[in-house]
């Protein structure tokens, strides 16, 4: 017996496996298309241009938050404070815009402050997790409580309205196209540019094998902190979309979105252990969650059964994605 027969080389992946390696978001895309078709079957009206635009502007915040989560997951970390960061930025910009008069200058100034605030939250998380070496799940859970506390201090009661200029722009049209399409285009460009950065390659290398990355000479702690900073930045962007959609401030609005963002990352085809992630997949993952919710509504599920059906549907989608991925990679 020769050594070559003992070690069966799997060096040349099959066609499907190669496709999945290059486009790991494919299963998520197929699921989104299938859900769209189902939505259309139950309510043809739900596939109209108008309702699709509405769906996009409602779920743009979750898309941004899922992408935020993807960057920390890339490095093998997790951020359970992403939703709280979103809430904090949400209330902060609403309060600032109101205080500064609600004009164009106030909106832009508040957004700059919001981005800085998001980055600051990310850096705090990064230092706590990477530099102080606390467990990511528990540490970011703790900072999420802390950020929520700050948000409640900034705005104790939900309901302060955002200036009309802000939400009318987000929900309106520009040169005949819905504004949210421009947001999507800008997001696509940003994701493309980010995918080319050294930081993203380093994040993935750290997530793949942290010890190996350290031994290679990568500044592992700094890379992880930058990953959290990126997460904070996208959480702030998510807050902008949410504020545009709800047109008001709410200090607790993001708390239930955190785990949805983690679910979207997994539904999109990323490995939660790190090293293998796809931001495009996370976008589709977030849309999947949105489409499941609308499907439950269009199916005419009685309100007391909606949570039940929603949970079951997400579980089914997750199973379908995992099975498809496993079969293709085997």
């Amino acid at each position: 017996m020769t050594p070559t027969t003992i070690e069966t080389p799997s060096a040349r992946p099959g066609g499907l496996k190669l496709w999945l390696e290059r486009y790991p978001f494919l299963p998520a895309l197929i699921i989104v298309v299938a859900l769209l078709a189902l939505n259309g079957a139950f309510s043809p009206n739900s596939l109209s241009y108008r309702s699709l635009t509405g769906l996009l502007s409602t779920y743009m915040a979750l898309i941004m938050l899922a992408i935020a989560q993807t960057y920390v997951v890339s490095a093998g970390d997790i951020d359970l404070s992403a939703g709280a960061t979103l809430s904090l930025v949400n209330v902060a910009i609403v309060v600032l815009m109101e205080k500064w008069g609600g004009g164009a200058g106030a909106v832009i100034g508040a957004m700059i402050c919001g981005i800085l605030l998001g980055l600051a939250c990310g850096v705090i998380n990064g230092i706590v997790v990477a530099a102080l070496r606390l467990q990511a799940i528990v540490a970011t859970f703790a900072t999420s409580i802390f950020f929520t506390g700050v948000a409640l201090y900034v705005m104790p009661v939900a309901g302060t309205p955002a200036p009309a200029l802000f939400w009318r722009t987000y929900g309106g049209r520009l040169l005949g196209l819905p504004f949210v399409f421009y947001v999507l285009a800008a997001l696509a460009l940003l994701l493309f540019l980010l995918s080319r950065t050294r930081l993203v390659t380093q994040l993935l290398a750290v997530g793949d094998d942290q010890q190996a990355a350290y031994q290679t000479g990568l500044p592992v702690v700094l890379v992880r902190i930058k990953g959290y900073a990126l997460c904070g930045l996208f959480s702030a962007l998510a807050a902008f979309c949410l504020t545009g959609d709800t047109a008001s401030g709410d200090p607790l609005v993001g708390s239930k979105m955190t785990l949805y963002s983690v679910a979207a990352v997994v539904l999109g085809g990323s490995a939660l252990a790190g090293g293998w992630t796809t931001v495009v997949g996370s976008l589709f993952g977030a849309l999947t969650i949105g489409l499941v919710n609308s499907l439950v509504f269009f199916m005419g599920t009685p309100s007391e059964w909606q949570n039940f059906v929603q949970g079951l549907a997400i579980l089914l989608v997750l199973m379908a994605g995992v099975l498809a991925g496993r079969r293709a990679r085997a």
Partner: protein
């Protein structure tokens, strides 16, 4: 002039001294071989130079200037490149990304310059063109490569550092002949450039082919540096073994049982599987059969295969005349086979659970026990634990409250409630203290005298020499030599282990 000098470098992990005293001097333009047996401190020494382990004491000089190496990044900046024995690759990144990972070329400050990266990686990938095997391309994900190809990527990565000082910690263990030849050709070129190269290998023929000088390291201490042209393998091995090398295994540790006419406990015929091939042997009832050789030559793989823990294998195994081919460990246990691994965390301990639960799982399985009364279980568990002289506060204390040695005793005790026919020991004394080892081997000898067939693999040669009736020396996945009676000497064991496969 010396490129790199180490003076009295030391490193301790808790109470264990990994490196007692490391003195080393690497000249420009030489390949300096480090030799020593398993756990003698070679890899620790390399990692200290590469910055991934911080030394407790001693001095490091580069180009005769004293330096402090604070981490891998700082080592790299000071001109040190390393090939890690356990590799430092990212499985989901491509070959070219891995080769360039430490110094990805950038444009505009933040973006990866893919064209420059491809060009840079291609320079090192091309060095191995023709020998890198099927499916090896710059864009292939490292996780899709074979073991030898991954090792080539790690070599390319070390070469890409273009460091004046290069460390190769067992770079050839998975490579084939043509790949090794190409690598040595490259090393000779680097020598001409005046680089200082540290090289570790366990193959004598490779060492004489490429090395200029050799430093021998024993029990964490650098013993001596020799010119390879002025010495011979026998001298080197004798230095590695120490003074007592020629003596047969000492009298105090004679084999447990002199005669075992009771018949075969286990027969293994032409067993092949992942990591080993064509292994045949017989263990008599009451015999302790040792498996020796360098680490990872197939000994553990054979034991795990017998226990049904590996998926593919061919060949025949018989226990007491009956065909025995366990499909799973569960199956193997039911049929009277026991396995104790040195890797307690992975294969033994049920972490966080009480001692009694850690002693009884095998009893549950073999007796098909569904419901048990604690008192009757206790009556069964206590004798087994006492036979091992296990120290514990109460059966309800979690197993993590015990020391490593006592944990291992609990793991072994679980096999003593219902006696197996064959006991497989896979480096069982890894990381346990001397007195626990002594208790353990006393028990193993007693079990042998009661008629068990025992297979013992140990990474410590003294344990094999002191306890085994016969020793099979593994090299490259098959048995290359059998040592019996007076032949069981340290010298013979080393020689057989270090021979080229």
């Amino acid at each position: 002039m010396s490129k790199l000098t180490l003076n009295g470098v030391s490193k301790a992990y808790g109470a264990t001294l990994a490196l007692r005293r490391g003195d080393l001097e690497i000249a420009a333009g030489e390949v300096h071989v480090l030799m020593g047996s398993n756990g003698s401190g070679k890899s620790t020494l390399c990692k200290i130079i590469a910055g991934s382990v911080r030394p407790d004491g001693g001095e490091i000089l580069i180009d005769d200037r004293s330096v402090t190496i604070s981490g891998p990044q700082s080592a790299r900046e000071q001109g040190i490149g390393i090939f890690y024995q356990e590799l430092s690759l990212a499985a989901n990144r491509s070959v070219e990304e891995n080769v360039c990972l430490a110094m990805l070329p950038v444009k505009a400050g933040i973006f990866v310059d893919r064209a420059a990266m491809k060009a840079l990686a291609a320079r090192y990938i091309d060095l191995f063109s023709g020998v890198s095997g099927d499916g090896f391309a710059a864009e292939t994900l490292v996780g899709n490569l074979r073991a030898d190809q991954r090792q080539l990527v790690e070599i390319m990565k070390a070469l890409a550092s273009e460091a004046p000082i290069l460390i190769f910690d067992e770079p050839t263990s998975a490579l084939d002949r043509a790949q090794v030849d190409r690598f040595f050709h490259i090393l000779r070129g680097l020598k001409r450039d005046g680089r200082g190269i540290i090289f570790i290998s366990h193959r004598m023929d490779e060492i004489t082919a490429i090395g200029d000088r050799v430093t021998i390291i024993r029990d964490g201490e650098t013993i001596k540096t020799l010119n390879l042209s002025e010495t011979d393998p026998a001298t080197v091995i004798r230095l590695m073994v120490g003074g007592a090398g020629d003596m047969p295994a000492s009298q105090s540790s004679a084999p447990a049982v002199a005669s075992f006419a009771a018949g075969a406990a286990m027969t293994v015929d032409r067993l092949s599987g992942a990591g080993f091939r064509n292994v045949s042997f017989e263990v008599a009832k009451g015999e302790i059969l040792g498996l020796g050789g360098l680490h990872g030559q197939g000994q553990s793989a054979v034991l795990r295969a017998i226990f049904g823990a590996s998926s593919e294998m061919s060949g025949e195994i018989r226990i007491g005349g009956d065909r025995f081919d366990a499909k799973s460990p569960r199956d193997a246990i039911r049929r009277g086979c026991a396995y104790v691994s040195g890797d307690r965390g992975r294969d033994g301990v049920i972490a966080g659970r009480p001692i009694i639960e850690n002693v009884t799982p095998i009893h549950y399985l073999r007796d098909r026990l569904m419901i048990a009364r604690p008192s009757s279980l206790k009556a069964k568990a206590m004798p087994a634990l006492e036979a091992m002289h296990t120290k514990f506060a109460s059966l309800m204390h979690p197993i993590n409250s015990l020391s490593g040695g006592n944990q291992q005793k609990v793991i072994i005790a679980r096999w003593l409630i219902d006696k197996p026919d064959v006991l497989l020991l896979d480096d069982p004394t890894k990381g346990i203290d001397l007195s626990a080892k002594a208790d353990l081997f006393a028990l193993i000898r007693q079990l042998a005298s009661e008629g068990l067939g025992i297979l013992l693999y140990s990474s410590e040669d003294a344990e094999l020499l002191g306890n085994a009736n016969r020793i099979l020396v593994f090299n490259g996945g098959s048995v290359t030599r059998e040592l019996t009676g007076e032949d069981r000497t340290r010298y013979n064991l080393y020689q057989a282990a270090y021979e080229a496969a």
